[in-house]
Amino acid sequence: MNWTGFDTWIVVIGALCAAACALPGCFLVLRKMSMMGDAISHAVLPGLAIAFLVTGTRASVAMFLGAAVAGVLTALFTQWITRFGNVDRGAAMGIVFTTLFAIGLLLIRQAADHVDLDPGCVLYGAIELTPLDLVSLGGLPIPRAALVNGTVLLLNLGIIALLYKELKLSSFDPDLADTLGYPSQFLHYLLMTMVAVTTVAAFESVGSIIVIAMLIVPPATALLLTHDLLKMLLIAVGAAVLSALGGHLGALVVPGWFGFESTTTSGMIALAAGLVFTLAWLFSPKEGVLTRRFREKVGDPGSLPDTNTA
């Protein structure tokens, strides 16, 4: 294996991207809205395309605005269709995001076909190429993807640090949040905006499908390992970084075992995230499958108290 500065950047970008996704992802998982991440990550496409058509550039703030608007619209349309169309939320989501995604694809095909915004890239991303696109930060050349994903990570960190209590309350008990004067709808749409913006930042690195793995898998892993929201956020970020590192290493090394060239890193990152989840599921000190079996064998009742008293 030949590790270069290029590889370091790929891991850094993957880690920033995965960590930025894991933070809002924790709240998606806790609100039992994991698939909303899926919906939004697809539905931002028309927002991106329209912003691109209007401004003519890819690196603009307009792209993020377009995505944020599309993300909020997804959440809004889903709610409307659920309420007025008398269908369940899953079905409503399916209607909304496929329609928006289709519009996005058509826009790209019809109007932006000659430029550098291709559907393949949208689906799978091209993290291997991201270190080539450099910008200057205080005189230092760094990949634009690192800057973008780093900024979004900081933004997400800032919002969650500022509104930790409010997000916790409205995720656990939205009715109480409303009665106490913390509008749960506002916090819901704030979270949806965070997801939309984070997804767009992650888009060109890992694409709109792998990004779902980044939103959901590390938080689900963390939930297996802790009973504390703050620790959950930290562990999710840790699992995200670990997946990025393991994913890129895997992409370089594993295909060699079978006599192939290196494979796509973003796919490997998602696979690594799944692997980390499996390990947590098996060995979690809290309720790991093997941990429990081991306890039964040894006859140690474990630290779990009896919960069935009433």
Partner: protein, 276 residues
């Protein structure tokens, strides 16, 4: 400022009563002409209620009678088709601090990664305000509230590892944290153990002694007259309301529960077991 305008109002009783009949500002909960509909189907119809201060009020009625919706309507949690509900003479949003809400236990996910004292501290969030963290003083109050409901020793336990009764106590402690004057409780007695039931009754009595008003959705007709001193019999409309002993009659129950025979028998049984 609001207090001022309220005082001005109450010095002009004639004008006031003209504008809003049966609406004395000291009344914890006054409901007038209140109708709520889901998908155009009415759930509550023309509700007219005045709940007196310091009473333990039981809200009784069959499934689907709109009991939970009545509480939610008072808290601005469901849109009203008509009418209003006023808390101590003002709309809810102007008197939030005087109301505490205990939702049904199943309304939240008890696997959520927080421990008991975290949930109780949520009752202080309105006082704490946006962006600020819960301070030491509020955490101590949360601990006291947990001790008041008898589970101080479980403060650091994750909520999924509490029994149903203990989870209900956590909710009650959270309501105590809100330090309100009016408590709206949705089936606090549902599926709890005998010790918890006793603890809740005890707590309700203590609140009532301190002049607090509690509106409690209740299912067990056998205990209605022992637990509550005021009753609201509800089945989409208010069938009857008033002092428990006078309101809990066979006739009223029949009107409330209608043709549901098994329930009627239960009611008759409950009637026989009460001293009246």
């Amino acid at each position: 400022m609001h207090t001022e305008s309220l005082n001005t109002q109450s010095t002009f009783p004639t004008r006031h009563s003209e504008a809003r009949p049966e609406h004395p500002p000291g009344i914890p909960l006054a409901i007038h002409d209140l109708t709520v509909a889901y998908h155009r189907k009415p759930v509550l119809w023309d509700i007219e209620l005045n709940i007196p201060e310091g009473k333990l009020v039981g809200v009784v009625g069959p499934n689907g009678a709109g009991k939970s919706t009545l509480l939610k309507a008072c808290l601005d949690l469901v849109p009203l088709s008509s009418g209003w509900a006023h808390i101590y003479g003002k709309p809810y949003r102007k008197n939030r601090h005087r109301v505490a809400y205990v939702p049904q236990r199943e309304s939240v996910d008890w696997d959520f990664p927080v421990n008991a004292i975290d949930v109780v501290a949520m009752g202080a969030y309105r006082r704490v305000g946006w962006f600020r963290r819960v301070g030491k003083a509020e955490n101590e109050r949360a601990m006291e509230a947990l001790e008041q409901v008898g589970i101080g020793h479980l403060a650091r336990r994750q909520i999924s590892q509490l029994s149903g009764g203990q989870q209900q106590r956590v909710f009650l402690a959270r309501a105590l944290m809100q330090d309100a004057d009016l408590y709206l409780m949705d089936e606090p007695f549902a599926a709890v153990d005998a010790a918890t039931e006793e603890a809740i009754v005890d707590l309700l009595r203590k609140l009532s002694e301190r002049g607090k008003t509690c509106l409690v959705v209740h299912h067990d007709l056998a205990t209605v007259t022992t637990y509550f001193d005021w009753l609201v019999l509800l089945n989409m409309r208010v069938v009857a309301d008033g002092p428990a002993a006078e309101t809990f009659t066979r006739d009223n129950l029949q009107k409330t529960y209608g043709g549901k025979l098994s329930l009627l028998e239960k009611a008759a049984e409950a009637l026989r077991s009460t001293p009246h």
